[in-house]
Amino acid sequence: MITNLGIEENKEWKCLSCDALLKLDKVRIDYMNGSFTVELPCCPECGMVLVPEEIALGKMLEVEKLLEDK
C-alpha cells in the first residue's frame, strides 16, 4: 500500500555528492513489524532519501506509536 504523505516536491535540498535536485519517489519504511511504502524526496541518482522534519515529527511519529502498541 502506498501512503501519500502529502509532501510537495522539494526545491530546497540537493544531493551534494550527485549535485542533483531531489524528486519525489516511492520509499519503503519499516518499524517493528510494520512496513509501508510512502512518497518521499529522493536523489534521482544515488537514491538518498530526505525525511522532512514535519513528517518525522508528525505522521511518522503517529505511526511509530501505533506500531509500538501492536
Binding site: 530546497e12 535540498w13 540537493k14 519517489d25 519503503r28 518499524y31 537514491g47 538518498m48 522534519e53 518525522a56
Partner: protein, 764 residues
C-alpha cells in the same frame, strides 16, 4: 497476573462499593442515582430507578420506613437526605411506560400463604421468575394492613392499581382459612411454600416458628416465611418486602436443588466499605415541605435532592494527575491492565497508562484500602518487557543513559588517595553528578576531611532506570555490577546522596549497609564558608523515594535549619510527598503528564522550593519553579552563583558531559591522573535550538556522530537557499537528522530531529 490475583487486587479499590444509603436499604435501592435524577428534575428516570429494585413502587414509594436516611453521610451535615419524601414526590409523578420482559413459564407450582405485604412481594417475585403461583388468603381482598394506611399517604385507588399487576402476571388466589394441618398436603402439591407471618393464615400455619436469618427457611422441607414484626412489635414495610423477596429466591433455589446460602452475604443491609471524604463538605439544612403533610413540591424535592453528597471515594484521583488523566480509577485500571496483558493480536491500549505511573506510591498512602497501583504498573511493565511488547520508545533513552553511567566514561571505584581500604564509600549517583559535578567533588572532599579519611568513591548507576522500566535482566546486570564494585572496595558502608539510590539498595542489596549523605552531613560541622541565607523562607520538597525514610527527611530539615533557612512544609510533604515527574520514568514515557504533575507540585506554594534530590531540583526548575538544592547552600562557591534558586536546568547533553567531566576532574584533582584533553569539535548551538534538542532527547554525541558520518561518507544534502548541510545517521533504533554548517573550530547546529522508522531504500 491471573484472574485470581486480579480479583484480589481489585478488592483494594472501593470506588464501586455501594454508598451507605444503598447498603443500608434491605432492598438496595440505588438511592444515589435516584437522588441525582430527582435533583436534575429527571422524574421519568428517577421512577425507572425506583422500579428496578422496588417491588410495588407505587406502594413502597409512599410507605417505606427509609432506614437509608439514618445512614446518610449528610446526617451530621444538616441532616440525612429525606429519601422517603423524595420517593413519595417521585411516585406522585405520572408513571412512565416501563417495558417488562416476562420470563419463560416454569412448570413448578409455588404456594404463598397470606395477603400481607411480604406475601405479595414473594408472590410477585415468583411470578416474575415464571412460576405458577397460588396465594391462599382468608381475607376478602389482598393487601392486609395496607388498607389501613391513611388515604393521604396511600390512596386506595393507587393500592388497587399497584396490586393489579399480580393478576396480570397470572396469580391464582384461593380464599381459604388455613391451619397447621394443611401444610403437609400443600407440600405434596407445591414445590415450595411461603408463609406470610404478616397475615392470619401464614401466622397460624407457622405456629410461632422463626425463619432463618439469610434464607428465611422454616425447617428443611421447603417451607419459608417472613414478614414478621421486629423485636419491638413493629412492622417495617421495607423489611416485609425484603423478606418476601429473599424467601422467594430461597424457594427458587430449593426447587432447583442448589445451595440456599452461597453468595448471599451482601443481601439485605450491610456495612459498606465505600469511603467518602466529607471533610470539605459544607453543612446544608434539610428542605422541609412547605405544605406539611402534602409533601414536597417539585422544586422543594429538587432542592432537597441537590444536597446529596453523591458519595464516592476517588481519594487517589484527587492527589494524582496521572490517575485522573486516564478517566477511570484503580479498580478499572487493574482490569484494563489485565486485559492489556491478555491481548495477543491487536492494540495494547493500556501501554501508555502502564508506563506513565511515576511509581511514587502517593496513591497507596492516601488510599483507605492501600491499593497497590505502583506494584500493579511495575508488574505490568515487567510482563511487557518479558513478552517483548514494551514500546521501545518508552524507556530507551533512560536505559541508554544508564548504560552511559555504567561505562568507562563515568564509572569509577576508588579508595581515597593514599588509602588501601575504605570503611565508607561516597555514592553520588548519576543525577547529582550530571546536575552539578562541582558539588560531588566538594562533597567528597568534605567527607574525607570531616567524616572519615578512608572514604572511597563510587561513580555508577544504581539501576533505578532499569528497575522503573520493568527490565529485570538489565536491573540484575546493573545491580551485579554495583555489588561487584562494592566488594572490590572491601564492602564499605555506602553514603548515598540520592534517595532513589537508597531505595534501590534497600530493594536489591539489603545486605549492604547504607546511610544517607544528609544524615552524615547532619552529624558533621558544616563548612565555615557555607552560605547562610538567614531569614530566607523556603518550602521543602521531599523526593518521592524518601516517602518512607523519615530519618533522611529529618536530616535534610535539620541541615536547612542549621543553614538559617526557615522551612515551610508543603501540604503534601514527607510520607505524602509528590513526585517531580521523573520517578518511574514518567517523564520519559509521557512528558505531557510529567508536565501536569509538575504543574500541580509547583503551584502548592509561592515560596522558593528547597530540594535535596538533584533530579527533583532539575525537574522543578524545568517547570519554571525557583528551586535550590541543599548543596547549593552548603557549597556556594563555584558555578552556583549568588541566587541558587535561579540556576537554570541542566540539559540532557550537559548532564552527560558533566558526568564525563566529573570523572576526569576527580582523577586529575584527587588522584593526580590528568587525562588527555579531548579534541572534540565545538558545537555552536543557540539556547532555542538546545531546548528543542533536550525536548527531543537528542544529545550532542548523537549530533557529532551524525556529522562525522556525513563528513566521512560525503552523504549529505545542501540547501540551495542557506547553504546549510542536512545529514542523517542511524546509530541504533533511531535515525538522527542534523542541519549544520562548518564553523572555524567545529559546527553551527541549526536544527536536529529524529524518527524511529527506518528508511529501507528508494524505488520500493
Amino acid at each position: 497476573m491471573d484472574q485470581k490475583t486480579l480479583r484480589q487486587v481489585e478488592k483494594h479499590c472501593i470506588q464501586e462499593e455501594a454508598p451507605a444509603c444503598r447498603s443500608a436499604c434491605p432492598l438496595h435501592v440505588d438511592a444515589r442515582t435516584f437522588v441525582l435524577q430527582v435533583g436534575k428534575g429527571r422524574w421519568n428516570d428517577a421512577w425507572k430507578t425506583l422500579n428496578k429494585t422496588l417491588p410495588f413502587p407505587g406502594i413502597l414509594g409512599r410507605i417505606c420506613d427509609h432506614p437509608c436516611e439514618d445512614s446518610c453521610l449528610r446526617s451530621t451535615l444538616g441532616g440525612g437526605i429525606r429519601m422517603g419524601e423524595l420517593e413519595r414526590t417521585c411516585v406522585n409523578q405520572p408513571k412512565p411506560r416501563i417495558r417488562v420482559i416476562p420470563m419463560p413459564k416454569k412448570s413448578e407450582r409455588m404456594a404463598v400463604v397470606g395477603e400481607g405485604l411480604s406475601s405479595l412481594v414473594a408472590a410477585l417475585e415468583l411470578l416474575r421468575k415464571g412460576y405458577d403461583v397460588t396465594l391462599f388468603s382468608s381475607q376478602d381482598k389482598l393487601g392486609g394492613s395496607l388498607w389501613e394506611v391513611p388515604d393521604t399517604t396511600l390512596p386506595k385507588d393507587i393500592l388497587e392499581q399497584e396490586l393489579g399487576i399480580l393478576g396480570t402476571l397470572g396469580l391464582k388466589v384461593e380464599n381459604k382459612k388455613m391451619g397447621q394441618g394443611l401444610l403437609v398436603p400443600l407440600l405434596e402439591e407445591f414445590s415450595a411454600v411461603y408463609l406470610g407471618l404478616d397475615s392470619p393464615n401464614g401466622a397460624r400455619m407457622a405456629q410461632g416458628g422463626k425463619p432463618s436469618d439469610k434464607t428465611f427457611a422454616l425447617g428443611n422441607d421447603g417451607v419459608f416465611g417472613g414478614g414478621a414484626c421486629d423485636d419491638h412489635g413493629r412492622l417495617s414495610p421495607v423489611n416485609q418486602a425484603f423478606q418476601g423477596r429473599a424467601a422467594a429466591l430461597s424457594m427458587e433455589r430449593f426447587t432447583q436443588k442448589v445451595g440456599l446460602v452461597e453468595g448471599r452475604q451482601d443481601e439485605g443491609p450491610y456495612p459498606t466499605r465505600l469511603f467518602t471524604n466529607i471533610e470539605d463538605i459544607e453543612p446544608l439544612p434539610e428542605v422541609l415541605p412547605g405544605n406539611g403533610e402534602k409533601g414536597y413540591t417539585i422544586d422543594e424535592a429538587r432542592a432537597e435532592a441537590q444536597r446529596c453528597i453523591q458519595c464516592q471515594c476517588l481519594e487517589c484521583l484527587k492527589v494524582c494527575p496521572y490517575l485522573d488523566y486516564f478517566k477511570g480509577y484503580p479498580k478499572r485500571y487493574a482490569r484494563e491492565i489485565y486485559n492489556n496483558a491478555a491481548i495477543v493480536m491487536g492494540n495494547h491500549a493500556a501501554n501508555l497508562m502502564v508506563n506513565t505511573c511515576s511509581l511514587c506510591g502517593l496513591c497507596q498512602e492516601i488510599c483507605p484500602e492501600n491499593f497497590p497501583m505502583a506494584d500493579l504498573c511495575l508488574d505490568a511493565r515487567r510482563d511487557l518487557v518479558e513478552r517483548k511488547k514494551m514500546p521501545p520508545s518508552a524507556h530507551e533513552f533512560a536505559l541508554q543513559d544508564m548504560a552511559f553511567s555504567n561505562s568507562e566514561s563515568f564509572m569509577l571505584a576508588r579508595h581515597a588517595p593514599d588509602k588501601e581500604t575504605s570503611r565508607f564509600a561516597f555514592f553520588p549517583g548519576c543525577q547529582l553528578s550530571g546536575s552539578n559535578p562541582e558539588h560531588v567533588i566538594q562533597t567528597y572532599s568534605f567527607l574525607r576531611n570531616n567524616w572519615a579519611e578512608d572514604t572511597g568513591l563510587m561513580l555508577q548507576c544504581c539501576a533505578a532506570p532499569a528497575h522503573w522500566s520493568g527490565n529485570e535482566a538489565k536491573t540484575r546486570e546493573a545491580i551485579s555490577l554495583l555489588e561487584e564494585n562494592w566488594q572490590k572496595m572491601g564492602e564499605p558502608r555506602m553514603i548515598l546522596a540520592c534517595s532513589s539510590c537508597l531505595d534501590m539498595f534497600r530493594r536489591y542489596l539489603p545486605n549492604i549497609d547504607v546511610i544517607s549523605l544528609w544524615q552524615v552531613m547532619d552529624q558533621c560541622e558544616l563548612p565555615v564558608d557555607a552560605a547562610k541565607p538567614v531569614g530566607t523562607t523556603m518550602a521543602i520538597h521531599d523526593p518521592c523515594t524518601s516517602r518512607h525514610e523519615p530519618q533522611l527527611q529529618d536530616a535534610a530539615r535539620s541541615l536547612a535549619v542549621k543553614l538559617g533557612i526557615c522551612i515551610e512544609e508543603l501540604e503534601f510533604s514527607r510520607e505524602k510527598t509528590e513526585c517531580c515527574g521523573f520517578g518511574g520514568l514518567m517523564e520519559n514515557a509521557n512528558p505531557t503528564l510529567a508536565e501536569k504533575q509538575l504543574e500541580r507540585r509547583t503551584a502548592e506554594s509561592d515560596l522558593d522550593y528547597l530540594a535535596y534530590c538533584a533530579m527533583c531540583r532539575e525537574s522543578l526548575k524545568g517547570a519554571g519553579k525557583r528551586t535550590a538544592h541543599l548543596l547549593d547552600f552548603i557549597f556556594p562557591q563555584g558555578s552556583v552563583g549568588p541566587d541558587p534558586a535561579a540556576r537554570v536546568k541542566t540539559g540532557l547533553s550537559d548532564s552527560r558531559e558533566n558526568r564525563a567531566r566529573l570523572k576526569r576532574d576527580l582523577l586529575d584533582q584527587v588522584w593526580n591522573q590528568a587525562a588527555e584533553a579531548g579534541t572534540e569539535s565545538m558545537l555552536h548551538i543557540s539556547p532555542e535550538v538546545q531546548a528543542k534538542l533536550d525536548q527531543r532527547r537528542i544529545l550532542h554525541s548523537d549530533i557529532r556522530e551524525t556529522i562525522a558520518h556525513a563528513e566521512e561518507t560525503g552523504r549529505k544534502m545542501e540547501s540551495r537557499e542557506s547553504g546549510h548541510f542536512l545529514a542523517s545517521h542511524r546509530p541504533f533504533m533511531v535515525t538522527f537528522w542534523v542541519e549544520y554548517s562548518l564553523a572555524e573550530n567545529g559546527y553551527h547546529i541549526y536544527n536536529s530531529y529524529c524518527h524511529r522508522m527506518q528508511i529501507m531504500g528508494g524505488n520500493a
